[in-house]
Structures are given as C-alpha cells and as structure tokens.
Amino acid sequence: MSSEFRNTVRANLAKPEVRANFYRAMDGLMTRRLDQFPDKVELERLRTQSMAIRANALSKLPELLETLEANLTRNGIQVHWAETTDQANQIVLSILQKHNAKSIIKGKSMVSEEMGMNHFLEALGVECLESDLGEFIIQLDGETPSHIIMPAIHKNRIQIAKLFHEKFPDIPYTEDVDELTQTARRILRDKFYAAPVGLSGVNFMVAETGTLCLVENEGNGRMSTTAPSVHIAVTGIEKVVESLLDVPPLLSILTRSATGQPITTYFNMISGPRKPGEKDGPEEVHLVLLDNGRSNIYSDPELLATLRCIRCGACINHCPVYVRIGGHSYGTVYPGPIGSILEPQKAGVDVHGELAQASTLCGACSEVCPVRIPIPSILNRLRYDGVRKDTANTNTVGSGKRRTLSEAATWKTWAWAATHPTIYHAGSTLATHFKGMLPTNLGAWTTVRSAPKLAESTLHQQVKHLGVDHE
C-alpha cells in the first residue's frame, strides 16, 4: 500500500534530526501546559465554560455573524464574505489593487495559509512577507508551517543559523538565538516601515462590540495591523463569539493550553480604523470572512463540534503520531489531530480521509482539548463516512469513495458469521485447532512485529469449562 501520505511519512521518519526536534519541543510544551493547570477542578470548570461559550456562539452563528457585521460596519470596518479560498484571494487582491499596493506585510495567519494567499499574490507580482519570526524563517527556506502555533518547530538553532548565513551572507554567522532574532528584527523593521498594506488573522471576533482580537507574543500582529495604512484581516466564519465577556475565559485557556503561558505578551483588540484626530493606525480596516467548507461542517450535528476549535494546538502537542511523523507528513495546512478531522471535512474524505486513519484513537487529543472536541469520535465518524454505503444520509464530502469491494466483502462475511452462532463457533474452533497452520507473515504488520497467536482454546470453550453462568 502506498499513497502520498504514506510516502511522506516514510521520508520524514527517515530524518532523525527532524524527529529529535519534534520530540524535544513537544515534551517541553506538554510539561509547560501541565504547570499552568495545577488545579484540576479549575481546569475542568474552565474547559466546560469554554466549550459552552463556543457551543453557544455556534448555536446562533448566522445571527451573530449579522450582528458582528452590523457592529463592525458601524465601527468603520469593511466586511467581505468569501465562499471559497479563491474568492477570498480575489477580495484581498482587489483591495491591494485599489491602493496600488505591490507588497504586503503579514502577521501570523493560518487562514491565509489555507487560502494559499502568498502563492496566489506572488504569481501576480505582489511581494508577501511573513513577519512572525517562525514564519519568516520557513519562508526563507521555501517551506510551509509544520505546526499551527510554532511554524518552524521542526528546525533547530544550527539549521536556522545556517539558513540565515546562506540568505544574508553579509551578516556574520551566529548560532546565538538573541543575535538571530535581532537580525530578523532589523530586516523586518524596514519592511514594516515601508509596507502599504498589513494582513493578519483573527483569534476571536466579538459580535456585541464589533471587535477583532489577536493573540501574540512578538508584536508582528500589532505592527502589521497598525503601521501600514491598510489592514486586512482574514478569518473563518466560525471564530465569532457573542459577547465581550466571552473573551477572557477563552483567552486564558487558549494561551495556557497552547504554550503554557498564563497570557501572551500582546492581546490586541481592534474595533475600528483611525478616527479623525488620531495620529496612527490604518486608515482602512477590512475583514474577509471565509467559509471554505465550514458551513457544510456546520450542517452535521456530530461534525459541528469541529468548529468549536480555538486553534490552540494542544491536541497537536500531545499527539503521539504527530510527534513521530512531524507536521509536514500530513501534507495539509493543519496537521495533527485537529488537521486530521478538519482537512478531510474540508477537502473530502476521498482526498484526505487517510489522515483520519493515522490514529490509534488513544484519546490524548480530546483529553487536553480546551473546548472538549471529541476528536476520536469524529475520526471514527470520518473513517465510517469514507467507506459507508448509504451516502444519502451524510453531507460529508467524498462519502463512500474510500469503500473497496474486497474490504466490504470481508466485513460482510465476518458480520454474517458473527450473527450466526453455529457458524461462528465452528469457525473459531477450527481456527484454534489448526492455529499452527495460520500464516506468520502478515505483510507490513509483521516486518516489525510477530504475528498474533491464537489461544489454546476459544473463549466460549473456556467459559464452558469454567462453568461461568450468564450474567
């Protein structure tokens, strides 16, 4: 069996440096998150509250989006709607064209990654510069983020030092993290100074007040949204909350779950462009609301929980699969558990359904998720959707397309045998009798493991022998 996913996994497993980088980073992140929640009761209370805030917002999603739009508009922020990533890119492009802008400075934004925005704009001659340090590093190397919070987590200091030296040969070689950071500061400061347009993502949108909230440590988000004369924010339609007081609990659990910080350096609340008399801030603020499959997810009562996600990355940090195969193996914008449920739903289970299978369903992801998304159940549901026959009963894109005749036949036979006691008993007794003749080579499974051995007698025989009664 080989697929693109399996091939990239194989390739990445063969890179010991990358694996070591992930192990070290995820270990630290798990410890730091744990340190932030010394009180288990408080943690569970906060998770329940955060889940309720997100669930409440989703239950009123269309109304809240309308309220948000009305309040943003009243505040002077221009709201745009995009059904597809292509429409979103066109909207960004039209704003740039209106201002005759040939470059854009970007704060961190996963939705712009989802849109493939850099690629789209650069093909049209617009320079897109990432200003988040991690994003800046991977952009230099022509890579994509390997984590939603720490995009350059797969690289170590030496690799970054070499990269800087290669790209900026005039600057003396250094492996000192402070010096590397100061180099990036100097380069990016000139860019902030000159950039006509800044772009950012959004962490929460407050319907009640018409406010866009951004969470960050570096100041790239503040710079991108304040220094240029135009600010464009791009985000998914699900990021809205009802009231301003919904924000403090979410902010608290987001930063603690993500990086183990009690709060980030900056929490930026933007409620409008520069007002008359104010001396800085953008003259224009735009918000692009992107659907890209989200309204389809919304239509399914079970899958809908996916949209509660606040993109903290805790599920990724705690995933034993992610830490081994690394973020790039997934081949998608969002990696890890959240990626494995989100990407198949957006692109279709026929395209990315295999990600839902790369899990042991150990449950670590749902145990840490601050908004209690039942990730393992959703993974199971997507596995089922991939092979189901009655595709009329689901909206999941690509449903049934992973169904193969041989697999279906195998399960059908098993189901038939299991529901016919005589046949089942005969089968299991036969298998036990002739267990010495069962194959020991089971393909890929047995290259690193020994084949399972059947017991001396079947469970039914043992139960009979012991004289156990029916319960």
């Binding site: 999603l61 505040n75 429409q87 720490m150 950071t181 304040t226 007081l245 009690p262 929490f267 409620s271």
Partner: protein
Amino acid sequence: MSNTARANILARLREPQRPECGFSERDYLSRYDWDAAERVRRFTERMVAVRAEVHHATPDSWLDVVSQVCTAKGLNNLLVSPETVLGKQIHAQAERFPTLKTYDQPIESWKQELFYGVDAAFTGTTGGIAETGTLIVMPSADEPRLMSLVPPVHIAVLEVDKLYTTFAEAVQAQGWVQTGMPTNALLISGPSKSADIEQTLAYGVHGPKELIVILV
C-alpha cells in the same frame, strides 16, 4: 460577488438542522478575592517573570523614579505626550529628563524618526490585571498606538487602584461594553518576545525589548 457569497453562506447556516447549545455554563465568576496588597504582589511577580521591571512609587516620588530609569538606561530621548495629566508633569520638569519628544503629528509625517530615532516612550495605562501581570492600554489621540510598540523601551505608569484581579473583572468594573470600545485596546504583559527558535526565549522581536512599569 461578495453579496452573493454572503447570502449563500447565511442561507446554508440557516438550513433546518440548526444545532442547539446544550451547555449553559457561561458564568463569569471572578475566581479570586485578592486584596490590594495581594494584587500588587501577584502583578509584580508575574511581570518580573516575563522580564519586565517593576518599580513602586508614590504620587510624590514617581517623577523621580522615571528620571532615574531614564538615567539608568542611558536614554538620549523620551517620547511623552504634553497633553495627558502625567505627561504634563514630565514636560514641566523637562530639565530632569532626556530630550523630550512629542507625537503631535500624524505618523506619516515623522515615521522615519519614530522608527529609527526614538529611544523610549512614556505612557499612562487604563488599568492592570493582577492574575496575569498585565497592563491595559487604550491608545488615544494623545498617546497613539505605536508609542507602546515601536521604541525599544516602554515606560508605563499604573495606578494601583486600577489594578483588577482578572481580565473579566476589569471589563465589568470599567464598563467597556457600555462605554463602547476604543479603536484599539491592548493588554500588554511584558516586553515583546519569541520562542520560535528552539523554544528559546528571545526578547525585543518587533516591539520593545524592555518594559518598565511604575506602580503608583
């Protein structure tokens, strides 16, 4: 295009099987009842943990503290509003401070100087949060947004009677929803930092390398 997109998205979200919210626990209880001294202690502890400097002062001594900080940091100039209550007092004693600069024109006309020629900025704050060690800053026409971001050093005064326990408490006590949000409101918890390289903390990525808080 945008209008069709809007109508289509909203129509899809309004399809019959609208989800119910089965959860009601959205209460916003303040978790702690710290007294004033405890709030100051926690605030200071948190700020210091993220490498901010915290100085304690009185209404009579804060000017001295600011002046001492400027000397200790070797600042050549300081950006201060001549319009705010605190800024006026600094300007009135200009001889005790480095060259005072003012943000009295739109950014476009002096961006070069702000970006490359200002050592430090002094601002007031709207309040603070003890739990997380956080300053609440609401930039205004007198103290614009970039003051607390572009210069490498940010000196801020926080009045202890505006130090709240939690973020939620500050929002409620100051009536943010009722008064309406300013164009930009900020929570600042330390100097700019990053852990993007090997999880190693580095300070002063894009914003100030140093944050100095004076509690009055």
